[in-house]
Each structure stands twice: as C-alpha cells, then as structure tokens.
Symmetry: C2
Subunit: 401 residues, 2 copies
Amino acid sequence: MSAKSDLPNAVVAQSGGPSAVINQSMVGVVERLRESGTVGRILGARHAVRGIINNDFIELQEVAQDKLDRIAQTPSSALGTSRDKPDRNYCEKIFKVFEQNNVRSFYYIGGNDSSDTCRIINELAREAGYDLGAYHVPKTIDNDLAENDHTPGFGSAAKFVAQAFMGDNLDNAALPGIKINIVMGRHAGFLTAASMLGRRSEADGPHLIYVPEVAFDVEQFLANVDRITGKRGRCLIAVSEGVHDADGTPIAVKLAEQSGGEVERDAHGNVQLSGSGVLGDFLSKLIREKLGAKRVRADTFGYLQRSFVGCTSASDAQEARDVGREAVKMALEGHRDGSVAIVRKSDNPYTVTYKRVELSDVAAKTRTLDTKYVVDGCDIDSRLRTYLAPLAGELPVIETF
Amino acid sequence: MSAKSDLPNAVVAQSGGPSAVINQSMVGVVERLRESGTVGRILGARHAVRGIINNDFIELQEVAQDKLDRIAQTPSSALGTSRDKPDRNYCEKIFKVFEQNNVRSFYYIGGNDSSDTCRIINELAREAGYDLGAYHVPKTIDNDLAENDHTPGFGSAAKFVAQAFMGDNLDNAALPGIKINIVMGRHAGFLTAASMLGRRSEADGPHLIYVPEVAFDVEQFLANVDRITGKRGRCLIAVSEGVHDADGTPIAVKLAEQSGGEVERDAHGNVQLSGSGVLGDFLSKLIREKLGAKRVRADTFGYLQRSFVGCTSASDAQEARDVGREAVKMALEGHRDGSVAIVRKSDNPYTVTYKRVELSDVAAKTRTLDTKYVVDGCDIDSRLRTYLAPLAGELPVIETF
C-alpha cells in the first residue's frame, strides 16, 4: 500500500455540514482507490478546499484498514470541512496545487455546492489540457440533491429526528402542553417530515408538521394549534427551520429583523438558521400571547441531528460507503467527471443501485419534497412513510397503555 | 393475578419530569407486588396525584408481563405525570380516595417533591389511625436527591449528554467555531458535568464546563472563551441551564428580565428554564459582540435529554427496575414509610446495593455536585469520571485522525 512515485496521486475532501456517515464515503473512496492499485498518494484535504490551497493534507494511503473502519463509523467529517464556496479564482489555486502534486483524480464529498466546485475545477483542467478526473460524492442531511432518490446522511438524521419525536411525543403525552420542535432543513422538508415516522396512531404527535415547501401562515398556524389542543389537550409540532411566508421570507429572518437582531450569513450568502433558538422561542411566545396557552415549550434540535454519536441508520451507513466506492469505480471506468446518484430499485424489500450523473445536473440545484405529500399545509401524508422508513431504518420498539 | 376483593389495594404513580427509565421503576413496583400476592387491585394513577383525586386509574394487576416489559423499556412516564405539588389540603383529598378504595400502600416515583408528598400523606394516615404505607421511589435526571449515590434516570440522561457532546465536539473540530450547548440542571451540575465523559484528550471539547454550583461571572466567561479560542481555534462549551450570578439570580432569569420577556413559573414556584433557547442565544450574542467572534452557535438540548428513544444506560435501566422492587420489599418487611436509596459498593467492578432511608431525609432536600470537582470555575476534574462513567454506561467507540 505504500505510495509509488510513478503513479498519479488522488485528493479526497469533505465539504459543507458534517453528517453521521460522511466518513463512510471518505473511507469508501480511500479503500477502493487502494484496492485498485492505480494511485500513489491519497491526500486527504484538511478542511476541504481550504486544505487544498494551503497544501494541508493527511496521507491516507498508509492508514491501517481497522483504523479507517473505526473512522467510517464515527460521525462528522474526520478530514475537517469548510463552508468556503470557491469561485473561479479559488478553483485556479486548487488546480495549481493539483498540478504541483501530480493529482489526477479529485473526490469531493458534499452537497450541490461541492458538485459545482468539481464542475469548475474540471473545466479548468480541460482548458489547460491537464488530465484530471473530478468526482462528486453525494452527502447532505437535507436530502435535497437533484437526480438522487435520497442522499447519504439523510437517513441517519431522519432516524435521529424520528426517535427524538417518538420520545418527545411520550413526554408531551405524560405532561400535556404545547411543544414545538424546530428541525433542520433550509429549503427541503424531508427531515421535518421524518418526524412522523414514529407515529403509531392519530393520537401520536407530531400533530402538526410544517415544511418549507408551502408558505407558513401565522394565523392558520395559531388556528391549527388551537384546534389540536382543544381536541387532544396537547399539541406536538414539527417546524422546519426554513419555513417562510408567502413572499418567501424565512419566518426566522422576519422575526430576527422584527426584534432588531442581526442575521448571520455564511460565505454562500445563506442565512444562518441553525445554532439559535429564535424561531422556536418566537413561535412559543406567539402561542402564549395569542392563545393564552400556559405550558408552551420549544426545542431546537440543532447540530445533534447531524452529528449525534450512536444513532446511525444501517442502510444509510452502507450506502454512504458505497457511493464513495462507486465514485472510484466511475474513474476506473474512464469517466473524467460525474456524480454518483442513488437509484431506488424497490421499496419492499428495499434495494438500491447507483448511477453516474452529470455534475451540472446536480450542481447548484435543489430538490424539494413533493407538495402532494403535504396535507392542508400542516401535516405529512402517511404515504410518505413508504419512501422514508427504509432510509431511517429500524426504530426502537415502544409501548404505552 | 386477578384482583382478590379481600386483599388491600395499592396505588402507584409517577411524578415530575419524565425520564428514560421511570417506567422501569413503575414496572418494578407492579411486578413485585404481583409476585407477593399481598394486594388486590394495583391502581396506576393517571397524571400522578391529579389522577388520584380524580379517581382516574389504570388497573395494572392484569396487564400481561410482556407488555409491562415493553413499557419498562419505553422512555417517559407511561401513567402520565404532573407538576402539582400537593399541599395538606390536596393530600387530604388523596387520602380520602385511598380510604374509599381500600388503598393500603402507595408507591410514588419521583424527585424530592414526591418524597414530601409521601411524607404528608403518611402523616395524615397516622393521624386518622388508617393503616397506610407510603413509599418513595427515587427518580430524577438532575441526580440531586439526598442520601443517594445517584438517582435513576440520571445515567441515561448522562449517556445522552455525553454522546451529544462527543458528536458535537467532532462537528466543532470539523467546522471550527464557538459552540455553546445548554444542558438541563437547575441546581445540580451533574448532568452538565457528564459532558466530559466523551473527552479522549485535552484537545477534545467541551473545553469549558459551567455548573450551577459556582457563581457564573460574565467577564470571566468571556475571557475563558477568548483564551481557548486563541489556543485551539475553536471552543466547545457546556453550560448548565441553572447557572446564576454571585447573588444567586439565574443568568437565564436575569436575561429574560433584561430583554423585557416574562419568566414562566411552575406550580412549585420554579422558574421555567427548559423549553427555550434564550440562555444560549444570549450567551452567543454576548460572545459575538464582546469578542467579535464570527461563527458562534448555541444549541439547547432540551427535552431530548430526558425522553430520547434509543439512548438508555443499561445500569440505569436495571437500577430503576430494582428501586421499584425494593420499595415493595420495604413494605413486605413491615415498614410503613420510607424511600429507597442507591448505595455504591464499588467503583470497579461497579456494584450497588439499596437501603431504606427516611422520607424526611429526602423530602425537599437537594444534593449538589461537590465543588472540589470544579476546576477554576470553568471545568470539571477528570477524577469525576470514576463516579460518572459507570452510570452512563458504555459509550460508542469513535476514531479520528
């Protein structure tokens, strides 16, 4: 497994928000590259593209397989990650480092932004007549990548959200009140929809589910909370952090502005929605004031959804490993670019396969939840369970009187 | 197992905040009572004392053992709970229902408030010359009951907090910044201290831990965050929701008052600290403004800590079952009152035993973390690991480069 100086080198990097299984994909790339015997050094870029331009690499070709296997089972991005979105100038710097290090294949694990980075670097290589393969390996807990049935990282986050709601539904039934839980998801409501996976009957919460695919109407929201509370003496609500009004303004942003607070934005211009309890706290204050309700609570699940240790979906872990291996296979088959997409073959038994898709078909695109699954703007149709359940995998058995 | 009309009846109830293992204790009481053959009906009070005065009971003597076993493994309080703190008048109503139903033993699972309720009811029974046994079964994720080495419910909550911090430390290392996590614990810092259980070296977070046993100084806090961030390029912070200033005013209350917001209180006069992101959001705003830090996030773990499905400590589950059984044993031995306390016999191998303690020694008392374990007001000594680790039980193995 030692680096052979006559062989070209490869770079692997992890981008964007961590997930519980993104290390599976990194290890999938590394082990398949090693099996192939086609590369010399396998360079793991520390903190994504930033590590590349700073020549900050971990040598991965010599790391023992048992250590890699343990890293694969560890959440978050072991190589480090970054939110940098490289423009053409940044990509030129990356390309220069690739040339200097005789890097001939680049595996970038991330969401649609990282797919776009692959696309730009690939263009630069072609323009320079430099033989480079740039491959995108899908990852995002938001499940919003185009061309994919679903995305590695989502299943484990969905399992966390489902188990959190199962427990909180029991908590809310034991000590009745109105409870709001804010779930990650800027544009896509898949993760918020997964809150319904633990429901065993109509009596179980979440009783209301709000996703960003439909406009959030404050008056309608209050009317629904009032209706459910009147009927059941309690109300458990799942709200996506990305909910917005009819004009498209995120409710969280609207509230932050109303309260005079600043709204943080990342390098991509995305408003910071996570890492703050402001949306939940505003909604619970609203319910208290407008409905006169007494016991109103809000929790924001936050980063636990993507990095909690000990709550991984088995199918998600396997698929995350596979997409890493598939990206290398794509390279071995002679493709000089591409993204790996997951195709569902069957719901029952649940089986998937993988296909190569064009980088441009994934880059900077966003897939959202089909609104046919949104019921009256405030719930998710149980038919979505067929799609979601195999991704989250088995949930613990619970029992009540 | 059918109710025999000539035998006296028993009531079991669950009080206060749910925990992941409180149903184990309830099932422990029920199964031991059934084994004893000494009682007729076993009445599970719906929503604690409120269910008693409303004659709202579940008949538990006939429930199949396999169903009970599944309920035992289910988080939250299957009988329902309440925050009512009965005064003498309320206790008289309870006592009347006991007389009407020929209830001769009462098992109350909860924190120190429920121990006090047992104490008052017991007094009323003695005054009336009515033969009643009132037994307290310990439960609280805060781990703050007097006379106990630790309390059922704490270990599973500690496991959740440890695993959450393990993951969030990896997340924070991958995408560096300043991250605050607010942990439950009004007066006792045990649960917040458990955030250190996943640390493998000095580099791992949480880098700062704030418990309510020592006064929280805002300037010192900022200086510490600045120091750690300068040294490590990141800072992960565990803050107990109950942190307070030198005057004893909870920081959360101080901030709520400063921002003109109301502070909710429960029937016990306790300020509502959970179910809001206000403390974390204030601290992160403070860091941003005073230190000019850019990437600052705060998560409030909230109710997940006590009810998440699928994160139970094995020793905690076993002990919770045992204390329920021990309470019945106490009754069978002829005691007419008492609370079960956990005694640690050995750290390695970890073993415990149980003893009877007086209700008045547990009632309305609070145990806190010995401040000898608090380092410089902002960290927890690793020696506390000996105490904490067996309670949380085995944590998942993680690996990093």
